[in-house]
């Protein structure tokens, strides 16, 4: 059953990706509407698949890379759907839908095994920590997507290229605002995620902060986004500079997510 939902999700995300990419080259309200609908359907299937899995295993599927990637993808699509409804930014889908699809495919290619849950994960702090961490990652993914769009549009404006993509992309102001929204939501989530993570660390390892690679890099991510937010609020950092920093932050997020393991394993 979980597998069926999963296949359905991949198929729908695939269709949504194709539709969103087509939106880049063709202007059609019909296409835009259907791209959003297909993605929403894909999201529903994805959500059902995740709930089904959680129900079967009696825990949230966040415990290994395969589960995490799928959850990352789910959270990103959720964030995208929220921002698309709010700001009417179809073009963002052309950047986000492929990413969600790729994460999902990567997830399915990983080895899955049914196993007993490790005792150290049987802590509510862990679930809380992981859930918030993914929510913040999803926000940062959207921020990075918007940042890429911002830089593209900025490039068109500075070089005076007013092609089809220029017409499609939203205004700089809108993208800047989305990026700022993502930060103001993502950063507190990350902060709470790190705090809850350290409480869980205390429970599992007897110390709030063990300076393992995961914790250290999480702190670096936190500092990058803190700097970005601080710069924005005090000096008024925005536009190109903020976009570049936002992309940099996201690269570090990906690096931390894929390459940095917890010092404890399960």
């Amino acid at each position: 059953m979980t597998h069926l939902f999963f296949i359905l999700t991949v198929a729908l995300y695939g269709c949504a990706t194709a539709a969103y990419l087509a939106c880049l080259v063709r202007t059609s309200p019909w296409l835009t509407r259907w791209a959003a609908r297909i993605l929403a359907a894909g999201f529903t299937a994805h959500l059902l698949s995740t709930i089904h899995l959680a129900n079967k295993m009696k825990y949230l599927p966040l415990t290994n890379m395969q589960e995490s990637l799928s959850f990352f993808s789910l959270a990103t699509v959720a964030a995208f759907i929220f921002f698309e409804r709010r700001y009417k930014v179809t073009t963002l889908g052309s950047f986000i839908a492929p990413v969600a699809l790729m994460m999902l495919i990567a997830s399915s290619s990983l080895h899955a095994e049914v196993r007993q849950l490790h005792p150290i994960l049987q802590s509510n702090w862990f679930w809380f920590h992981a859930l918030l961490a993914f929510a913040s990652y999803a926000c940062f993914t959207i921020a990075a997507g918007v940042a890429i769009m911002y830089l593209t549009q900025n490039y068109f404006l500075k070089t005076k290229h007013f092609g089809a993509l220029f017409q499609k992309l939203p205004s700089l102001e809108t993208m800047d605002e989305i990026s700022y929204r993502c930060l103001t939501v993502g950063f507190p989530l990350l902060t709470v995620a790190i705090i809850s993570g350290s409480i869980w660390s205390e429970q599992a390892m007897g110390s709030y902060w063990v300076w393992d690679r995961k914790q250290t890099w999480s702190l670096i991510i936190w500092l990058i986004y803190a700097a970005l937010l601080h710069g924005r609020l005090t000096i008024g950092w925005r536009g190109k500079r903020a976009a570049i920093l936002s992309i940099l932050g996201f690269i570090v997020v990906l690096f931390t997510f894929f390459a940095m393991e917890h010092s404890i394993s399960w």
């Binding site: 404006l157 005076k160 700089l172 102001e173 950092w237 536009g239 190109k240």
Partner: protein, 433 residues
């Protein structure tokens, strides 16, 4: 006499070239008098807008006249002729008339149908009339062009469906600033295009307008018109950080806003983006401003690409306009050619009539028992003969006029029939009109 047009426009030259050959309206008398001082140039009008610099003139020597005006444009602005020449186009005869009609009707504009160009040509013609560089032919010609433009505007939808430079500016601003409802416009100088753009911005929901001008009274007047705020020109930079949209079109010979100013202004507004549109030629805003982060500078040329998107829609209306122009060219060209031919025909006719009367008088005075109606009959007979004889040469002459070979025929006529030198004074022509 021939009408010639020499010039360059947004189609043949970039703004960098156009601004170098622009004639300042403040000092238009000098180039106008130099222009009609050129050998073979009889009348001249200089049209200088940000999108085109054109000289309309009349001459007997088409090739020589065009060459001399081209040389004049380069020399007057101290530009190397070789550098300028590739950007220049020239027209004569019917093509010249068509060109000017098209320009006045806004068919040759960057934004087809934009209404400013007609006003600009009217102003240019006003200078020429004031300084007496235009004469009977150009007066008539330009008045005709104005009426053609009016006809095009009322009979086609070209102006109503047109997207003006101003409109394109608003579209572009939205791509940067998003919603305009909390944005302020700063108007520097008082060009017609700028004022129009400001109106467009207000119609699109912009919050307010600030106006500045070298003459503060003018700024105040405009500000009142827009319900905005007047700013002293000297205090421009102190107020610039309140503006999100800056429209500039002053006649200043130098840049009035540089990258350093903009950096300072951006800092004061916490790097909220500023959108600059520079309509002035020569430019008001240093092109380097565009390299400043969060500052976006566009010239009129840049707006063209946005405008292109809507061109297809208007092509149908433009076709209708071209038809109107073709009709009007026919009429005007007829007038222009008769301008040459008519005096020749009149002179020839007078010569024939003179001879006829002399011979008729001679015959009648020597005739003893003249029948009562003979004088009348003889009069009719000679008149009919004269008309028959003159019919063929007259129609050939009229045709020659339309073919542009007038001078040759008129010259031959004068020698063959010993006509007096044909005077083309204004009185005679006015009667003809």
């Amino acid at each position: 006499m021939n009408i010639i047009v020499v010039g360059l426009s947004h189609k043949t030259a970039a703004v960098e070239t156009r601004e170098r050959v622009a004639f300042s309206p403040n000092n238009i008398e000098k180039p106008l008098s130099e222009l009609i001082g050129l050998e073979g140039i009889v009348e001249g009008v200089i049209v200088s807008t940000c999108n085109r610099v054109e000289i309309y003139a009349t001459t007997r020597d088409i090739a020589g006249g065009i060459a001399r005006i081209k040389r004049f444009m380069a020399d007057y602005h101290h530009l190397p002729f070789e550098a300028l020449e590739p950007h220049l186009y020239s027209y004569h005869a019917e093509a010249a008339i068509r060109h000017v009609f098209r320009v006045a009707s806004s068919l040759d504009s960057m934004v087809v149908g934009e209404p400013q160009i007609l006003g600009q040509i009217k102003t240019s013609y006003g200078y020429a009339a004031e300084f007496k560089s235009s004469g009977i032919i150009l007066n008539r010609f330009l008045h005709k062009a104005f009426s053609v433009a009016k006809r095009v505007r009322t009979e086609t939808k070209i102006a109503s469906s047109a997207v003006s430079v101003a409109f394109a500016a608003v579209e572009l601003a939205k791509k940067i600033l998003g919603d305009l409802s909390d944005k302020t416009v700063m108007l520097i100088g008082a060009g017609e295009m700028c004022e129009l753009a400001a109106k467009h911005f207000l119609n699109s929901g912009a919050k307010g307008v600030m106006v500045t001008n070298r003459t503060f009274e003018r700024a105040e007047k405009l500000a009142e018109e827009f319900g905005g705020e007047a700013v002293r020109f000297e205090e421009l930079l102190e107020h610039l950080h309140h503006a999100d949209i800056v429209l500039s079109s002053t006649g200043a010979p130098h840049h009035i806003i540089g990258p350093k100013d903009v950096k300072e202004v951006l800092k004061r507004r916490r790097f909220k983006p500023i959108f600059f549109i520079d309509i002035a030629v020569p430019r008001d805003i240093d092109p380097k401003v565009d390299q400043v982060e969060n500052a976006y500078l566009f010239t009129v040329d840049n707006l063209q690409e946005i405008i292109q998107a809507n061109l297809a829609q208007r092509s149908l209306e433009a076709e209708k306009a071209e038809q109107i122009i073709s009709q009007e060219i026919g009429q005007f060209h007829k007038w222009l050619s008769t301008l040459e031919v008519t005096p020749a025909i009149v002179a020839l006719r007078n010569r024939f009539d003179e001879i006829r009367r002399a011979e008729l008088d001679k015959t009648i005075t020597g005739w003893k028992d003249l029948p009562p109606d003979a004088e009348k009959r003889l009069e009719a007979l000679t008149l009919a003969m004269m008309n028959k004889l003159l019919h063929a040469p007259t129609s050939v002459l009229k045709q020659a006029g339309q073919g542009g070979r007038v001078d040759l025929y008129v010259d031959a006529l004068r020698q063959l029939f010993e006509l007096e030198a044909l005077q083309r004074d204004d009185e005679e022509l006015e009667l003809e009109e």
